[in-house]
Symmetry: C2
């Protein structure tokens, strides 16, 4: 029953019952860390063959005869550039394959713009005293940390069911040339799992920022990460930008961190010729090249995962088919876990009115809003009962959720059984925190 509709007496009775449940939950002595979006053991297992697929001198050679063990090919293996182009819906020539972390590529991109202007005549961002960045909220804490580190004022943009509030974005960037960029996770957004609508993507392509060096940081982290069979479709921002002639406005990022191994995947960025020329000037001075053997491992592994029945016109198609097939295996592992979370919320919390959430079709998280003013308390109660969640507020710049309401649930790492115990605890804590507030 909805707490808001309970009498004082009913509330007190529920409070006592929930306190008792919490005491019982604590006795379970749970010890579980759900603070980060870490793939679980079963997910790591399905990529194991990648480890020994490059195992001889001959397997280190690319089709064109380059030896992946040696120096060379600054922008990465051609096959790897093609794969990321498909994932990011851009051209292979626009892709630069980096190390193991797309976050690192994003950090470096901001870092580059801090000291160098992307076009002659402009100021480096570091020389813009009141530099600002738009942050759709709730969002990814590590995005916000980068712009915090580099001294940007961060402006929160509310998320809607179709993506960030475009009216607000259009208005703000048209007026203020100190606004230099926006963080976007356009597909299965972190944490809500929202995929930007076609209209939202088109409006991004049509943005008219006052700052010539305004850039959309298009972090397509979950581009192939469906959890449900009928996954979302994201329009190609690059295709839309071509139509409006605004190819320079976006920089694209992706990685295989949540495809193969989180610590040992491959990351890439993509950008228009003008942007890429600017970044390659840095890459040329920064490194002789990234780890090509690891790129090759990924390519051979995906190619080996494709099946006869896949319709592949060429080697690049085969690699992409293998990737999609591989993501199907992840889906089978993740779907039951997302179901545990959604079912627990539905069965244990829906009718109390203490929570709001949405059921995502993919990505890595379930985002919930608990009773305003209780998110920090819920996380603290969970911790006391042995369940570590992402810190409340982490989904907002500077860790400050004005409503103290949003919590990110990361269901991937625990086993299904552990997750069931964890959700029992979580639901009790959400109720308890709400009742503490209502009954105080």
């Amino acid at each position: 029953m909805n707490y808001a509709k309970m009498s004082e007496q009913e509330l007190q009775k529920e409070y006592s019952a929930v306190k008792a449940s919490y005491a019982t939950a604590k006795e379970q002595k749970l010890c579980l860390d759900m603070s980060r979006g870490k793939p679980g053991e079963e997910q790591l297992e399905i990529s194991l063959h990648m480890l020994d697929i490059v195992n001889s001198a001959s397997s280190c050679k690319t089709q064109s005869g380059a030896d992946c063990r040696n120096y060379g090919l600054l922008q990465g293996l051609p096959s790897c550039r093609e794969l990321f182009a498909k994932m990011l819906q851009v051209e292979p020539s626009m892709v630069m394959v980096g190390g193991n972390s797309s976050l690192n590529l994003m950090f470096d991109a901001v870092s580059t713009l801090m000291t160098k202007p992307v076009k002659q005549g402009l100021k480096p961002w570091g020389e813009v005293a009141n530099r600002k960045f738009l942050c759709p909220v709730p969002g990814y804490d590590r995005h916000f940390s980068i712009t915090e580190y580099f001294g940007f004022e961060m402006i929160c943009i509310p998320m809607t069911e179709t993506g960030p509030d475009m009216d607000l974005i259009e208005k703000l960037i048209a007026e203020d040339e100190d606004i230099k960029g926006i963080w976007c996770v356009p597909k299965y957004s972190n944490p809500q799992g929202i995929t930007y609508s076609d209209e939202t993507v088109r409006r991004f392509a049509a943005l008219k920022p006052a700052a010539e060096d305004f850039r959309i940081f298009w972090d397509d982290a979950y581009c192939v990460h469906d959890v449900n069979d009928d996954g979302d479709k994201l329009l190609s921002l690059y295709d839309e930008c071509k139509k409006t002639g605004s190819e320079d406005i976006a920089i694209y990022f992706a990685s295989t961190s949540k495809v193969t191994f989180p610590g040992s995947g491959v990351a890439a960025m993509a950008a228009s010729p003008l942007n890429m020329e600017f970044f390659v000037k840095r890459f040329t001075n920064q490194t002789i090249g990234y780890d090509k053997i690891n790129m090759l491992r990924h390519m051979l592994f995906f190619a080996a995962t494709a099946e006869e029945s896949d319709e592949c016109k060429n080697a690049a198609d085969k690699i992409y088919c293998g990737l999609i097939r591989h993501m199907g295996k992840h889906k089978e592992i993740l779907k039951p876990r997302f179901n545990v979370v959604i079912n627990a919320l539905q069965e244990q919390l829906a009718d109390t009115g203490t929570i709001e959430w949405r059921n995502p079709n993919g990505g890595y998280f379930v985002s919930v809003n608990v009773t305003p003013g209780t998110a920090k308390r819920v996380v603290a109660l969970c911790k006391e009962a042995g369940l570590v969640l992402t810190g409340a507020g982490a989904t907002f710049p500077l860790g400050a959720d004005p409503a103290d309401s949003n919590i990110r649930i990361a269901p991937t790492y625990p086993s299904v059984e552990e997750l069931k115990s964890a959700m029992e605890v979580f639901c009790v804590c959400v109720k308890l925190a709400a009742l503490e507030k209502l009954c105080s």
Copy 2:
């Protein structure tokens, strides 16, 4: 016979003979790239077992049970930090293991200091209008490119047989607080193969710079790279710094790029607690962690390379013994190549007076000084005959060798037979360029 002592007639005769030799050399249609310090095929082969040594879920676990495939351990595997501590002669707690490139770590270190001060109250280097960097010459072109990219004025410091000219360094940095750092390759310097003397290291540790944020970039790229059996010994800069209380003055770098695979090695940096706290603030925002599976590959491979007869008190010793044993295999491959170069210079050029060089005990290069004003011409003549060398001047900031004399020879990549042909061509070109000058 020495060209300087030849009569006009003798010179003309020699000129004709050398021109004929060059014409013959061109007919060989050589096609060889010796422009970079790339390991050769035989060197790549000896690390091949590293590729499949991590091949199961259990082999991905560290001693403490961490799964190398997943996120975690920002500063790297403990065993890997210990290995780099031994290589760099510092403490394991000072080490941060990075991606595949120490150059990238150096670039990022300068980049960090450009936007943030290492200590409160100081200016970020980017705000120092006349920022300067000391560059021992001849030196490593990619070092100079980094400081060029970030807008430093580069001041050349002549190299001597014992390291850079310390009198000059001490004088300059005591006077000018805009001088923020110096590039050093202290063992088997690139390109000359000079190892800094004990006195030089002690003088580095005793430096009294005007700038509180002056830093020595101690790139120990060739710390275990002997070519002769009786290798050079480098004093530990960190130990000397402890004696003078100047632990904060240096940042240390190394990698396995020329130990295992150039594109897929492991790199590390080390620094005092004050410096490392500063850099870790950046790393924390820049990445969730570097590739730990690749670190593990290296550790297991070196441990497997150690032999029963090695005296190893513990696992870390065993890994280090394996590394040294592995470097012994490189030495066997490289020694004949260095001998080809040295013998060719000795036999074909020594008595002409057109060249000076030193015989290094290790490293990756032989540095030669040809007749002043002819280095560019020598490189051009070689190229015309199918032999690509490092560009003349590359060993100086902005590619500008004032004497147009220094050339870096990289003997590692070709086979011994190819190298013999290459050195034939090279020696002819050195003579031809000198004669063109003398006879014009």
